[in-house]
Amino acid sequence: MDAALLARLRAEAFLAEYVHVLDGGRLEEWAGLFTADGRYKVVTRDNHELGLPLAVMSCDGQGMMRDRISALRTANVFEPHVYCHVPGALRVLEHGNGTIRTESTFAVFRTMGDGTMSLFACGRSQDRLVEHAGTLRLAERVVILDSRQIDTLMVIPL
């Protein structure tokens, strides 16, 4: 099987693990899926296309990522809810030299404590994966939301 398809498979498998960490509520494992200086950003398509830098959520390095989770666990007030990530079409933009760059469409459905389900977000993610001890890590993940709207609040990362 050629290298591109293999890169695709490995990225897909890694990103599936990523999704289950979030949807499974194992949020303390989230930062560990990134490299120490990994970058994470959620932006809206509007800002992205207008060339505006603002992010809905942004973390530079695992420290800020862990801060997001500790705030969620101990500081912030919000109604309990869970995500269901449904990744869609994954394309490999580039692979080789220990790096795989991919772009994936996705939808995320949010369910509240009373059972209310809704489409919370959809769009695409751009992920840069690097080799790390025989497996992969995220050097960068940029989530681009098709909608400018966020319903109520976003506290769990995507």
């Binding site: 603002l54 809905v56 959520m57 801060d67 912030n76 966020i150 109520t152 976003m154 506290v155």
Partner: protein, 415 residues
């Protein structure tokens, strides 16, 4: 000016003279909601429309709202700004249906009627018919069928519009004391860093109150307290416009007096809590003072925000009796250096729909909205600071500004 409907305020009347107790019905009654569109958002108020910086060039326009009414603000060749109701005078189609763009004139896609940037009707397709047949009736007065125009005023890059002839000049409307804070914050040419849109599952007034509710800041928001952005015992206070409609709540850096707050066992003061990477709480004093937090409201729909170095204006757009869209325009200054650009990106993790601080205001409104349905005749109670609607120096532990909001609401609604 828009026509006014005669819709009566349903069965509603305000229970007594006090504005310290609010019937839950005001958050749930569709008839009151409809009346607010007319008597508040199309009434004697200045609605925030946007920023000059968003439409720098002639012909640049932006779709915006006053209440639920779709409005367009557009830059004219002479540099002035015009605003019109986004509704064709012919059959009512939106004359603009893209969020932003650049135009020479308004051109309705449905039947190709055209208007100049002031909304004057300049062209009616087939006005004279075709081959001498059809065309407009003899008595059709083109000049009487323009787009509904808003009065527009600007201040330090903020653009406001009103449908009413009664609305006083903008600076009188805001008042000197509160203009001062706009002068304090918007000190230099602005740069838009981006937008947020947050859908609040509640009536617009619950969010309007939340901003005026200086009482909750240090109680609901752990971050405010823990990191000394807003603590009950820090300096600052509340300012109100003469009529009480508008407010400013601000906090100045000072040593926390933990005994005082400690005795209150405030849920949100978690002494243990800390950040692994506190760089996002860094504060570069760019405004020449020690103010850590300043939240200002201009009745009914504008919030001007300074939290450390996070600057923004927030526009409140009602989307139904139990739904509100909050539109954030996050700001920097044109001359921000790279370090400041980086800092603003970091500190903006505090605000917006995922803000460590502001996310909480996104859910509490819904908590009230859901409970409000239970018994609309019941009333809230706001005992903090008694019945007074007055400024207070050194304390934000009052609900004076919220009472001021209800005073403004009643005066506009005539209820």
């Amino acid at each position: 000016m828009m026509q006014q409907t005669a819709a009566p305020a349903a069965s509603f009347r305000w229970p007594d003279e006090s504005v310290s107790r609010v019937p839950f019905q005001v958050y749930t009654d569709p008839e009151l909601y409809a009346l607010e569109q007319e008597r508040i958002f199309q009434g004697p108020v200045w609605n925030f429309l946007g920023l000059e910086a968003e439409i720098p060039e002639p012909g640049n326009y932006k779709m915006t709202h006053t209440g639920e009414a779709p409005v367009v603000m557009v830059r004219k060749p002479d540099g002035s700004i015009s605003a019109v109701l986004n509704r064709c005078a012919h059959k009512g189609a939106l004359v603009c249906y893209k969020q932003r763009g650049t135009i020479r004139e308004f051109n309705c896609v449905y039947h190709n009627w055209t208007y100049d940037l002031d909304g004057q009707l300049t062209g009616v397709a087939f006005r004279k018919g075709v081959g001498g047949k059809g065309g407009v009736g003899a008595d059709f007065d083109q000049s009487a069928h323009g787009l509904v125009k808003l009065r527009v005023e600007r201040y330090r890059g903020l653009v406001f519009g009103t449908f009413s002839d009664q609305t006083p000049p903008l600076t009188d409307y805001i008042g000197a004391e509160l203009i001062a804070n706009i002068d304090r914050v918007l000190i230099k040419p602005l740069k838009v860093l981006g937008y947020h849109s947050q859908i609040l599952p509640n009536n617009w007034k619950l969010y309007a109150e939340n901003n005026k509710d200086s009482y909750h800041a240090s109680l609901l928001h752990v971050f405010h307290n823990t990191f000394g952005v807003v603590r009950p015992n820090m300096g600052g206070g509340i300012k109100l416009s003469a009529n009480g409609w508008h407010h400013l709540s601000y906090t100045e850096r000072s040593a926390p007096n933990d005994d005082a707050t400690g005795t209150e066992k405030v849920r949100s003061l978690k002494e243990q809590y800390s950040l692994e990477d506190p760089s996002l709480m860094e504060h570069r004093l760019e405004l020449g003072d020690q103010v850590t937090n300043a939240i200002q409201t201009i009745f009914p729909s504008l919030v001007v925000q300074q939290i450390l170095n996070a600057l923004a204006v927030r526009q409140i757009v009602p989307r139904g009796v139990d739904r509100t869209e909050l539109l954030w325009t996050v700001l920097g200054f044109e001359d921000d250096d790279e370090a400041m650009a980086t800092l603003r990106m970091k500190v903006n993790n505090l605000v917006g729909p995922a803000g460590f601080i502001s996310m909480e205001d996104g859910c509490v409104g819904g908590f009230v909205q859901r409970a409000a349905k239970a018994d609309p005749e019941a009333r809230t109670v706001m005992p903090m600071g008694g019945d007074a609607i007055e400024p207070s120096q050194g304390s934000r532990v009052t609900e004076a500004a919220v009472r001021g909001f209800w005073k403004g609401w009643r005066e506009c609604m005539g209820l």
